[in-house]
Amino acid sequence: MNDCVYIHECIPIEGGARGKMIDMIRTRWAPHVGNVYGVRLLGVWAEVGSTAAWPQVRVQWEMDDWDHFARAQAGQLPMEERDVFVTDLWNQALEYRRGGHSALLRATAYSPDVATIEADGLMGEVVLHEDVRSLPGRMADYHAALESEYRPLAEARGLRLIGAYEHALVPNTGINLWGLREWGQWQALMESEPHDAELREWSDRQGEWLEDIDGFLVAVPPTGALRT
Protein backbone atom coordinates (compact mmCIF):
# COMPACT_ATOMS: atom_id res chain seq x y z
CA MET A 1 0.00 0.00 0.00
CA ASN A 2 1.28 3.45 -0.89
CA ASP A 3 -0.47 6.28 1.01
CA CYS A 4 2.05 8.92 -0.01
CA VAL A 5 1.10 12.27 -1.47
CA TYR A 6 3.13 13.74 -4.32
CA ILE A 7 3.65 17.19 -5.79
CA HIS A 8 4.63 17.04 -9.47
CA GLU A 9 5.99 20.29 -10.91
CA CYS A 10 6.38 21.23 -14.56
CA ILE A 11 8.69 24.25 -14.89
CA PRO A 12 9.27 26.02 -18.22
CA ILE A 13 12.80 27.45 -18.26
CA GLU A 14 13.99 30.86 -19.39
CA GLY A 15 16.78 30.80 -21.96
CA GLY A 16 19.62 28.40 -21.23
CA ALA A 17 19.11 27.93 -17.48
CA ARG A 18 17.74 24.39 -17.38
CA GLY A 19 20.89 22.91 -15.86
CA LYS A 20 21.17 25.68 -13.28
CA MET A 21 17.57 25.12 -12.16
CA ILE A 22 18.17 21.38 -11.83
CA ASP A 23 21.42 21.90 -9.91
CA MET A 24 19.67 24.27 -7.51
CA ILE A 25 16.94 21.75 -6.78
CA ARG A 26 19.38 18.88 -6.44
CA THR A 27 22.00 20.55 -4.28
CA ARG A 28 20.09 23.11 -2.21
CA TRP A 29 16.30 22.88 -2.42
CA ALA A 30 15.94 19.15 -1.87
CA PRO A 31 18.41 18.89 1.03
CA HIS A 32 16.69 21.81 2.77
CA VAL A 33 13.09 20.58 2.52
CA GLY A 34 14.29 17.07 3.33
CA ASN A 35 16.09 18.13 6.49
CA VAL A 36 13.49 20.56 7.76
CA TYR A 37 10.18 19.06 6.61
CA GLY A 38 11.01 15.45 5.75
CA VAL A 39 9.89 15.99 2.15
CA ARG A 40 11.65 13.56 -0.19
CA LEU A 41 12.78 14.27 -3.75
CA LEU A 42 11.46 11.47 -5.97
CA GLY A 43 13.12 12.93 -9.03
CA VAL A 44 14.31 16.02 -10.86
CA TRP A 45 14.57 15.62 -14.59
CA ALA A 46 15.20 17.50 -17.78
CA GLU A 47 12.36 17.01 -20.23
CA VAL A 48 13.93 15.42 -23.31
CA GLY A 49 13.28 18.03 -25.97
CA SER A 50 13.12 15.69 -28.95
CA THR A 51 10.05 14.09 -27.43
CA ALA A 52 8.16 17.01 -25.85
CA ALA A 53 8.28 20.65 -24.79
CA TRP A 54 11.65 22.32 -24.19
CA PRO A 55 13.35 23.70 -22.24
CA GLN A 56 11.46 22.35 -19.23
CA VAL A 57 12.23 20.76 -15.88
CA ARG A 58 10.12 18.21 -14.04
CA VAL A 59 10.29 17.72 -10.28
CA GLN A 60 8.40 15.33 -8.03
CA TRP A 61 8.29 15.43 -4.24
CA GLU A 62 7.00 12.73 -1.88
CA MET A 63 5.30 13.12 1.51
CA ASP A 64 4.11 10.33 3.81
CA ASP A 65 0.40 11.16 3.70
CA TRP A 66 -2.00 14.12 3.75
CA ASP A 67 -1.10 15.02 7.35
CA HIS A 68 2.57 15.20 6.41
CA PHE A 69 1.64 17.21 3.32
CA ALA A 70 -0.25 19.72 5.47
CA ARG A 71 2.60 20.07 7.96
CA ALA A 72 5.19 20.54 5.22
CA GLN A 73 3.15 23.17 3.41
CA ALA A 74 2.20 25.00 6.58
CA GLY A 75 5.85 25.05 7.59
CA GLN A 76 6.89 26.76 4.37
CA LEU A 77 4.01 28.98 3.34
CA PRO A 78 3.73 31.89 3.20
CA MET A 79 7.47 31.56 2.65
CA GLU A 80 8.31 35.21 3.36
CA GLU A 81 7.09 34.70 6.91
CA ARG A 82 8.03 31.09 7.63
CA ASP A 83 11.09 30.00 5.65
CA VAL A 84 13.75 32.50 4.67
CA PHE A 85 15.86 29.85 2.92
CA VAL A 86 13.04 28.81 0.61
CA THR A 87 12.23 32.48 0.06
CA ASP A 88 15.78 33.11 -1.07
CA LEU A 89 15.82 30.04 -3.34
CA TRP A 90 12.51 31.06 -4.86
CA ASN A 91 13.77 34.54 -5.64
CA GLN A 92 17.11 33.32 -7.02
CA ALA A 93 15.22 30.90 -9.27
CA LEU A 94 13.33 33.79 -10.88
CA GLU A 95 16.42 34.12 -13.06
CA TYR A 96 15.78 30.60 -14.34
CA ARG A 97 11.98 30.39 -14.47
CA ARG A 98 8.98 32.70 -14.27
CA GLY A 99 6.22 30.23 -13.52
CA GLY A 100 5.13 26.65 -13.74
CA HIS A 101 2.33 24.22 -13.20
CA SER A 102 2.04 21.74 -10.34
CA ALA A 103 -0.22 18.78 -9.69
CA LEU A 104 -1.13 17.14 -6.39
CA LEU A 105 -1.03 13.38 -6.92
CA ARG A 106 -1.97 10.25 -5.02
CA ALA A 107 -0.40 6.94 -5.94
CA THR A 108 -2.02 3.67 -6.86
CA ALA A 109 -1.53 1.06 -4.15
CA TYR A 110 0.99 -0.81 -6.28
CA SER A 111 3.23 2.21 -6.92
CA PRO A 112 6.59 2.07 -5.11
CA ASP A 113 7.60 4.84 -2.71
CA VAL A 114 10.94 6.66 -2.89
CA ALA A 115 12.62 4.24 -0.51
CA THR A 116 11.60 1.28 -2.69
CA ILE A 117 12.56 3.10 -5.91
CA GLU A 118 16.02 3.71 -4.50
CA ALA A 119 16.43 0.25 -2.94
CA ASP A 120 15.39 -1.48 -6.16
CA GLY A 121 17.29 0.92 -8.45
CA LEU A 122 14.18 1.59 -10.53
CA MET A 123 15.01 5.04 -11.88
CA GLY A 124 17.70 4.37 -14.52
CA GLU A 125 19.14 6.74 -17.14
CA VAL A 126 15.82 7.74 -18.65
CA VAL A 127 12.16 7.79 -17.62
CA LEU A 128 9.09 7.44 -19.82
CA HIS A 129 6.54 9.97 -18.56
CA GLU A 130 2.91 9.50 -19.64
CA ASP A 131 0.25 12.17 -19.15
CA VAL A 132 -3.06 10.35 -18.91
CA ARG A 133 -6.61 11.61 -19.34
CA SER A 134 -9.28 9.01 -18.63
CA LEU A 135 -12.84 8.86 -19.81
CA PRO A 136 -15.12 10.25 -17.07
CA GLY A 137 -14.99 7.97 -14.05
CA ARG A 138 -12.73 5.35 -15.65
CA MET A 139 -9.34 6.08 -14.02
CA ALA A 140 -9.70 3.34 -11.39
CA ASP A 141 -10.55 0.77 -14.08
CA TYR A 142 -7.59 1.97 -16.15
CA HIS A 143 -5.25 1.66 -13.19
CA ALA A 144 -6.52 -1.86 -12.50
CA ALA A 145 -5.90 -2.88 -16.12
CA LEU A 146 -2.52 -1.16 -16.07
CA GLU A 147 -1.50 -3.31 -13.12
CA SER A 148 -2.94 -6.63 -14.24
CA GLU A 149 -2.53 -6.43 -18.03
CA TYR A 150 0.03 -3.85 -19.10
CA ARG A 151 2.60 -3.97 -16.32
CA PRO A 152 3.70 -7.55 -17.14
CA LEU A 153 4.09 -6.60 -20.82
CA ALA A 154 5.97 -3.43 -19.92
CA GLU A 155 8.32 -5.12 -17.48
CA ALA A 156 9.13 -7.82 -20.03
CA ARG A 157 10.35 -4.98 -22.26
CA GLY A 158 12.54 -3.28 -19.67
CA LEU A 159 10.05 -0.70 -18.36
CA ARG A 160 9.97 -0.59 -14.57
CA LEU A 161 7.07 1.10 -12.84
CA ILE A 162 8.09 4.15 -10.83
CA GLY A 163 4.52 5.23 -10.26
CA ALA A 164 0.97 5.35 -11.57
CA TYR A 165 -0.77 8.35 -10.08
CA GLU A 166 -4.07 10.16 -10.25
CA HIS A 167 -4.58 13.85 -9.69
CA ALA A 168 -6.02 14.40 -6.23
CA LEU A 169 -8.01 17.47 -7.26
CA VAL A 170 -8.63 17.24 -11.01
CA PRO A 171 -10.83 14.28 -11.98
CA ASN A 172 -9.81 11.87 -14.73
CA THR A 173 -6.21 13.07 -14.89
CA GLY A 174 -3.07 11.16 -14.06
CA ILE A 175 0.61 10.50 -14.68
CA ASN A 176 2.53 7.25 -15.23
CA LEU A 177 6.30 7.06 -14.78
CA TRP A 178 8.37 4.13 -16.09
CA GLY A 179 12.11 3.79 -15.50
CA LEU A 180 14.50 2.48 -18.14
CA ARG A 181 17.88 1.33 -16.93
CA GLU A 182 19.73 2.50 -20.06
CA TRP A 183 19.05 4.57 -23.18
CA GLY A 184 19.61 1.47 -25.27
CA GLN A 185 16.47 -0.09 -23.80
CA TRP A 186 14.39 2.82 -25.08
CA GLN A 187 15.98 2.39 -28.50
CA ALA A 188 15.10 -1.31 -28.49
CA LEU A 189 11.54 -0.54 -27.35
CA MET A 190 11.05 1.95 -30.18
CA GLU A 191 12.63 -0.27 -32.81
CA SER A 192 10.35 -3.18 -31.94
CA GLU A 193 7.15 -1.08 -31.63
CA PRO A 194 5.88 -1.42 -35.22
CA HIS A 195 6.02 -5.22 -35.03
CA ASP A 196 5.05 -5.82 -31.38
CA ALA A 197 1.56 -7.31 -31.57
CA GLU A 198 1.07 -7.51 -27.78
CA LEU A 199 1.89 -3.84 -27.24
CA ARG A 200 -0.23 -2.82 -30.22
CA GLU A 201 -3.23 -4.71 -28.82
CA TRP A 202 -2.81 -2.95 -25.47
CA SER A 203 -2.31 0.44 -27.12
CA ASP A 204 -5.45 0.06 -29.25
CA ARG A 205 -7.52 -1.11 -26.25
CA GLN A 206 -6.72 1.95 -24.16
CA GLY A 207 -9.72 3.70 -25.65
CA GLU A 208 -11.89 1.60 -23.30
CA TRP A 209 -10.63 3.76 -20.43
CA LEU A 210 -8.76 6.75 -21.80
CA GLU A 211 -9.41 9.97 -23.65
CA ASP A 212 -5.72 10.33 -24.42
CA ILE A 213 -2.22 9.44 -23.36
CA ASP A 214 0.88 11.50 -24.22
CA GLY A 215 4.25 9.85 -23.70
CA PHE A 216 7.60 11.61 -23.62
CA LEU A 217 10.99 11.15 -22.02
CA VAL A 218 12.56 12.83 -19.03
CA ALA A 219 16.20 12.25 -18.19
CA VAL A 220 18.36 12.47 -15.15
CA PRO A 221 20.82 15.13 -16.27
CA PRO A 222 24.62 15.01 -16.11
CA THR A 223 26.28 15.71 -12.79
CA GLY A 224 27.47 19.18 -13.82
CA ALA A 225 25.12 21.92 -14.95
CA LEU A 226 23.31 20.77 -18.06
CA ARG A 227 23.98 23.45 -20.69
CA THR A 228 20.99 22.96 -22.95
Binding site: P12, I13, G15, G16, A46, V48, G49, S50, T51, A52, A53, W54, P55, E125, V126, L128, E130, W183, G184, W186, Q187, M190, E191, E193, P194, S203, D204, R205, Q206, G207, L210, D212, I213, D214, G215, F216, L217, A219, V220, P221, P222, T223, G224, L226, R227, T228
Partner: protein, 229 residues
Protein backbone atom coordinates in the same frame (compact mmCIF):
# COMPACT_ATOMS: atom_id res chain seq x y z
CA UNK B 1 9.24 0.85 -47.22
CA UNK B 2 10.73 3.80 -45.35
CA UNK B 3 13.01 2.49 -42.56
CA UNK B 4 13.72 5.89 -40.96
CA UNK B 5 12.22 7.92 -38.18
CA UNK B 6 11.80 11.70 -38.14
CA UNK B 7 12.40 14.27 -35.42
CA UNK B 8 9.81 17.01 -35.84
CA UNK B 9 10.57 20.23 -34.00
CA UNK B 10 8.23 23.17 -33.43
CA UNK B 11 10.31 26.17 -32.45
CA UNK B 12 8.88 29.32 -30.92
CA UNK B 13 11.18 31.73 -32.69
CA UNK B 14 11.71 35.33 -31.67
CA UNK B 15 9.21 37.13 -33.94
CA UNK B 16 10.88 38.29 -37.13
CA UNK B 17 13.84 35.97 -36.64
CA UNK B 18 12.44 32.85 -38.30
CA UNK B 19 14.86 32.66 -41.25
CA UNK B 20 17.97 33.51 -39.17
CA UNK B 21 16.94 30.80 -36.72
CA UNK B 22 16.48 28.20 -39.46
CA UNK B 23 19.90 29.07 -40.90
CA UNK B 24 21.52 28.87 -37.47
CA UNK B 25 20.10 25.37 -36.97
CA UNK B 26 21.63 24.17 -40.19
CA UNK B 27 24.93 25.90 -39.41
CA UNK B 28 25.47 23.54 -36.48
CA UNK B 29 25.88 20.73 -38.95
CA UNK B 30 28.74 22.57 -40.67
CA UNK B 31 30.56 23.42 -37.43
CA UNK B 32 34.27 22.64 -38.02
CA UNK B 33 34.96 21.99 -34.34
CA UNK B 34 32.29 19.34 -34.16
CA UNK B 35 33.72 15.86 -34.25
CA UNK B 36 30.38 14.29 -35.01
CA UNK B 37 28.62 15.21 -38.23
CA UNK B 38 24.94 16.00 -37.96
CA UNK B 39 22.09 14.40 -39.80
CA UNK B 40 20.77 16.10 -42.91
CA UNK B 41 17.67 18.25 -42.51
CA UNK B 42 14.70 16.54 -44.11
CA UNK B 43 12.85 19.85 -44.25
CA UNK B 44 12.79 23.30 -42.67
CA UNK B 45 9.86 25.67 -42.66
CA UNK B 46 8.41 28.76 -41.07
CA UNK B 47 4.70 29.09 -40.47
CA UNK B 48 2.74 31.79 -42.21
CA UNK B 49 -0.15 33.90 -41.00
CA UNK B 50 -2.61 32.45 -43.54
CA UNK B 51 -3.79 29.56 -41.38
CA UNK B 52 -2.68 28.07 -38.08
CA UNK B 53 -0.19 29.23 -35.44
CA UNK B 54 2.55 31.73 -36.25
CA UNK B 55 5.32 32.64 -36.05
CA UNK B 56 6.99 29.26 -35.72
CA UNK B 57 10.05 27.54 -37.12
CA UNK B 58 9.79 23.88 -38.02
CA UNK B 59 12.75 21.52 -38.41
CA UNK B 60 12.37 17.91 -39.53
CA UNK B 61 15.34 15.56 -39.37
CA UNK B 62 15.65 12.11 -40.88
CA UNK B 63 17.26 9.63 -38.52
CA UNK B 64 17.11 6.09 -37.16
CA UNK B 65 16.26 5.01 -33.64
CA UNK B 66 19.94 4.19 -33.11
CA UNK B 67 21.00 7.64 -34.34
CA UNK B 68 18.33 9.43 -32.34
CA UNK B 69 19.32 7.56 -29.18
CA UNK B 70 22.98 8.46 -29.75
CA UNK B 71 22.02 12.13 -30.12
CA UNK B 72 20.11 12.06 -26.82
CA UNK B 73 22.91 10.24 -25.04
CA UNK B 74 25.15 13.11 -26.20
CA UNK B 75 22.89 15.53 -24.34
CA UNK B 76 22.20 13.59 -21.17
CA UNK B 77 25.18 11.40 -20.33
CA UNK B 78 28.39 12.96 -19.06
CA UNK B 79 30.68 10.60 -20.91
CA UNK B 80 29.52 11.48 -24.42
CA UNK B 81 28.46 15.12 -24.25
CA UNK B 82 28.19 17.07 -27.49
CA UNK B 83 29.85 20.30 -26.34
CA UNK B 84 29.71 21.94 -29.80
CA UNK B 85 25.92 21.55 -29.72
CA UNK B 86 25.82 22.95 -26.18
CA UNK B 87 27.81 26.01 -27.30
CA UNK B 88 25.48 26.48 -30.26
CA UNK B 89 22.44 26.20 -27.97
CA UNK B 90 23.71 29.01 -25.77
CA UNK B 91 24.78 31.21 -28.74
CA UNK B 92 21.35 31.21 -30.32
CA UNK B 93 19.12 32.06 -27.38
CA UNK B 94 18.36 35.42 -29.04
CA UNK B 95 16.69 33.63 -31.96
CA UNK B 96 14.30 31.24 -30.21
CA UNK B 97 12.38 30.89 -26.97
CA UNK B 98 11.45 27.24 -26.76
CA UNK B 99 9.62 24.55 -28.60
CA UNK B 100 7.79 21.27 -28.75
CA UNK B 101 9.03 18.15 -30.49
CA UNK B 102 7.66 14.85 -31.68
CA UNK B 103 9.26 11.67 -33.01
CA UNK B 104 7.50 10.45 -36.13
CA UNK B 105 7.16 6.95 -37.57
CA UNK B 106 6.54 7.04 -41.34
CA UNK B 107 3.95 5.11 -43.32
CA UNK B 108 5.61 2.67 -45.69
CA UNK B 109 4.87 4.96 -48.65
CA UNK B 110 6.10 8.14 -46.94
CA UNK B 111 9.14 9.35 -48.94
CA UNK B 112 12.68 9.33 -47.60
CA UNK B 113 14.99 12.31 -48.03
CA UNK B 114 16.59 10.47 -50.96
CA UNK B 115 13.14 10.01 -52.54
CA UNK B 116 12.33 13.71 -52.08
CA UNK B 117 15.61 14.75 -53.65
CA UNK B 118 15.29 12.26 -56.52
CA UNK B 119 11.79 13.51 -57.31
CA UNK B 120 12.86 17.15 -57.05
CA UNK B 121 10.02 17.92 -54.68
CA UNK B 122 9.61 21.62 -54.04
CA UNK B 123 6.75 23.92 -53.23
CA UNK B 124 5.61 27.45 -52.57
CA UNK B 125 3.52 26.33 -49.61
CA UNK B 126 3.08 23.18 -47.53
CA UNK B 127 0.03 22.07 -45.55
CA UNK B 128 0.87 20.34 -42.28
CA UNK B 129 -1.88 18.68 -40.25
CA UNK B 130 -1.63 17.01 -36.87
CA UNK B 131 -4.72 15.01 -35.97
CA UNK B 132 -5.93 13.20 -32.88
CA UNK B 133 -7.79 9.99 -33.78
CA UNK B 134 -9.51 7.28 -31.77
CA UNK B 135 -7.16 4.70 -30.23
CA UNK B 136 -6.32 2.09 -32.86
CA UNK B 137 -7.16 4.30 -35.88
CA UNK B 138 -3.77 5.78 -36.76
CA UNK B 139 -2.52 2.99 -39.04
CA UNK B 140 -5.86 2.79 -40.85
CA UNK B 141 -5.84 6.56 -41.30
CA UNK B 142 -2.47 6.41 -43.05
CA UNK B 143 -3.64 3.49 -45.20
CA UNK B 144 -6.72 5.47 -46.25
CA UNK B 145 -4.57 8.47 -47.11
CA UNK B 146 -2.32 6.26 -49.21
CA UNK B 147 -5.28 4.70 -51.03
CA UNK B 148 -7.52 7.72 -51.57
CA UNK B 149 -5.56 10.98 -51.48
CA UNK B 150 -2.05 10.06 -52.53
CA UNK B 151 -2.96 8.92 -56.09
CA UNK B 152 -4.69 12.25 -56.78
CA UNK B 153 -2.02 14.65 -55.51
CA UNK B 154 0.11 14.89 -58.65
CA UNK B 155 -2.86 15.93 -60.79
CA UNK B 156 -3.64 18.66 -58.28
CA UNK B 157 -0.11 20.06 -58.45
CA UNK B 158 0.82 18.68 -55.05
CA UNK B 159 3.29 16.19 -53.53
CA UNK B 160 3.26 14.17 -50.35
CA UNK B 161 6.19 15.12 -48.14
CA UNK B 162 5.29 12.88 -45.22
CA UNK B 163 2.64 10.75 -43.50
CA UNK B 164 3.46 9.65 -39.99
CA UNK B 165 2.31 8.14 -36.72
CA UNK B 166 3.67 9.84 -33.58
CA UNK B 167 5.86 7.74 -31.30
CA UNK B 168 4.56 7.36 -27.72
CA UNK B 169 1.37 9.29 -28.65
CA UNK B 170 -0.88 6.60 -30.09
CA UNK B 171 -3.75 8.92 -31.04
CA UNK B 172 -1.73 11.35 -33.16
CA UNK B 173 -0.78 11.40 -36.83
CA UNK B 174 1.05 14.07 -38.82
CA UNK B 175 0.80 14.66 -42.57
CA UNK B 176 2.55 17.18 -44.81
CA UNK B 177 1.52 17.92 -48.40
CA UNK B 178 3.38 20.39 -50.59
CA UNK B 179 1.76 22.54 -53.28
CA UNK B 180 4.17 23.39 -56.08
CA UNK B 181 2.39 26.74 -56.38
CA UNK B 182 -0.25 28.41 -54.25
CA UNK B 183 -2.70 27.49 -56.99
CA UNK B 184 -2.09 23.83 -56.17
CA UNK B 185 -3.29 24.40 -52.61
CA UNK B 186 -6.41 26.01 -54.06
CA UNK B 187 -6.94 22.98 -56.33
CA UNK B 188 -6.57 20.68 -53.32
CA UNK B 189 -9.11 22.72 -51.36
CA UNK B 190 -11.56 22.61 -54.27
CA UNK B 191 -11.05 18.86 -54.68
CA UNK B 192 -12.25 18.29 -51.11
CA UNK B 193 -15.72 19.03 -52.47
CA UNK B 194 -15.52 18.22 -56.20
CA UNK B 195 -13.21 15.24 -56.69
CA UNK B 196 -14.92 11.94 -55.73
CA UNK B 197 -11.75 10.26 -54.42
CA UNK B 198 -10.53 13.32 -52.55
CA UNK B 199 -13.95 14.16 -51.14
CA UNK B 200 -14.25 10.55 -49.93
CA UNK B 201 -10.95 10.99 -48.17
CA UNK B 202 -12.09 14.29 -46.67
CA UNK B 203 -15.34 12.72 -45.37
CA UNK B 204 -13.46 9.83 -43.78
CA UNK B 205 -11.01 12.28 -42.19
CA UNK B 206 -13.86 14.33 -40.76
CA UNK B 207 -15.52 11.21 -39.32
CA UNK B 208 -12.46 9.99 -37.42
CA UNK B 209 -10.68 13.20 -36.43
CA UNK B 210 -11.43 14.25 -32.87
CA UNK B 211 -9.00 17.17 -32.72
CA UNK B 212 -6.73 18.77 -35.29
CA UNK B 213 -4.27 21.57 -35.79
CA UNK B 214 -3.25 22.79 -39.21
CA UNK B 215 -0.42 25.00 -40.30
CA UNK B 216 0.55 26.49 -43.62
CA UNK B 217 4.30 26.46 -44.01
CA UNK B 218 6.81 28.26 -46.21
CA UNK B 219 10.00 26.30 -46.94
CA UNK B 220 13.25 27.79 -45.67
CA UNK B 221 14.82 29.84 -48.42
CA UNK B 222 18.21 28.13 -48.14
CA UNK B 223 16.64 24.67 -48.46
CA UNK B 224 15.96 22.48 -51.48
CA UNK B 225 12.17 22.56 -51.01
CA UNK B 226 12.10 26.29 -51.74
CA UNK B 227 10.80 27.01 -55.22
CA UNK B 228 13.14 29.51 -56.78
CA UNK B 229 11.78 31.81 -59.51
Amino acid sequence: MNPNIYLHEYVRTVPGREEPYLASVLSLHHEPSRTKLGHPAFAQFRSVQTSGRWPMGINIWENTWAGQTADLVGQFLDARRDTAMEDWWQRNLHLRRGGYDRLLIPADYSPTLADVEARGVHGEVFLQEIMWLPFGEARRFLDELGDRLLPRLDDLGCDLLGAFRVAMRPRQVCTIVGAREWAGLAELAKAFRRDPAVSGWDRYKAEVTQQAEEMLLLPARHGPLYRRP
